[in-house]
Amino acid sequence: MDQNRRGARASYVALTIFLAVWIFMPSTVRRFNREAFTEFQAPGLHLVSKSRDLARFWELKSRSSEEMALAGRDLARVNAALELKLASLDDVRRENTRLREITRYTVPADYMSVVARVATRDSSSWWNRIVIRKGRNDGIRPGAPVIFGNSVVGRVTAVHLTTSEVDLVTSPGFRCTAFLEGDDQNSIVLINGLAGNSLRTPQARISVIPNDYSTGTLQSPKAFTTGMGGVFPSRLVLGTVDLDSKATKPGSSFKEGRLNPSRELYNLQEVSVLVPLHQNPGEALLQGDQFQ
């Protein structure tokens, strides 16, 4: 018994010394340690996620041929409608190119789109994250925007060999600028994720909304990315705006509001990562982030 206690005292002393060494250890060592433990878990996540895909495949496979024929017919109709839309967009594209040539507008950064399946979702009061099944091996880099359709899902915060972690729009670490629909002055507002959304749909905070902004006849105005800062392309939908009179301080020249994400972020099965073809300043900042 006494021997155990003496051993424990020695262990506590060793723990304190090791803790001190750990604190002053170069961050590279800690990052290597974190990376090693992440890579250890990656195969398990892949296996589980692929098993889910397989289960879904067999579920769809068990559908009757009549159901498949009906689904095929519906898809054919959607395809026909999309082809018409594509033709009209072609005219818009030509017009866009012509206008750019006239105004000598600088073309924004080009992106490479990488489609990735969602492996797991992880959230607490202090973060809202998803892990996707694509990583460094697929060319993904930290800071790359993650979208679904024309909606912003979040931003890649950490990249590993075969997986990446994505901070969702509602995560407290997420920040970007936006324009609000119905604002004729095109004022820039700030969006950042909100901590402490207990048992509610996660939301983000919209700040620096001009006091004279009103939603007018719009039921739920949208917030769009500005394209400034070089991380997100412009005109992507961030979500719908909910002006919150309680959050606005009396006498303040700005209003605050809440942003409801445009997609159900925790139902997504697949997302697209827009990897900039050239490194942007946001990526350089993320590479030095110790809490990735």
């Binding site: 018994m1 155990n4 206690r5 051993g7 424990a8 262990s11 506590y12 723990l15 803790l19 750990w22 800690r30 340690n33 974190r34 433990f37 992440t38 250890f40 878990q41 398990g44 996540l45 589980v48 797991t120 979702r121 992880d122 959230s123 607490s124 009061s125 202090w126 973060w127 809202n128 994250r129 892990v131 915060t157 972690e165 407290p172 670490g173 950042n192 909100l194 901590a195 402490g196 959304n197 207990s198 048992l199 749909t201 996660p202 925790y266 110790q290 809490f291 990735q292």
Partner: protein
């Protein structure tokens, strides 16, 4: 038996992966199924401190790896708990003691990571205090409940693994 801690880690990993999957399901509510504190109790009863410490550290690092938590907070908390448990084995002598140990250990570890994350976050963003405190309390309560509910199945698997690799059984009166 120098590698007993590693074999125990491999035997425990499916539970940690299962907890991640359960966290996936609870993600909409903003909760994490936290079992790292429960996982170290049964091994601490039978393993020597030199084996229990790396095991506890690895369980902590596995949880921290994919989450934005200050490095080492959970791992060192679990190591401190494991040192205490291995030095006070009489506390884990019987079933109620073990269950109590699992609940307290899980609650303490959960409090440590939640507090550390909130502190790290407060340097960049001030969380709205009321909702964050409510969530904090709910998360810790959930961790205590999970500790009580999952201790027996987890310890069954861990004890089976320890029997297979020849770890001596815990003495009735240590």
């Amino acid at each position: 038996m120098g590698w007993a801690w590693l074999i125990m880690l491999l035997a425990t990993y499916p539970w940690l992966l299962g907890a991640d999957l359960a966290s996936d399901v609870l993600a909409r509510g903003g909760f994490v199924v936290f079992i790292s504190g429960v996982c170290i109790v049964a091994p601490c009863r039978r393993l020597r401190p030199i084996q229990a410490i790396p095991f506890a550290a690895c369980v902590g690092f596995l949880f921290e790896a994919r989450r934005p938590i200050p490095d080492g907070v959970l791992a060192f908390t679990l190591v401190a708990i494991s040192i205490f448990l291995t030095a006070n084995k009489p506390l884990l002598r019987n079933a109620p003691g073990l269950l109590r140990g699992a609940i307290i250990s899980n609650t303490l570890a959960c409090t440590a990571w939640a507090a550390a994350t909130a502190l790290a976050l407060s340097t960049t963003e001030a969380p709205s205090s009321n909702s964050t405190l409510t969530h904090f309390a709910l998360q810790v309560a959930l961790a205590a409940l999970i500790g009580a509910a999952l201790y027996i199945p987890i310890s069954l698997v861990q004890n089976y693994a320890m029997d297979r690799i020849g770890v001596p059984p815990a003495a009735d009166t240590p």
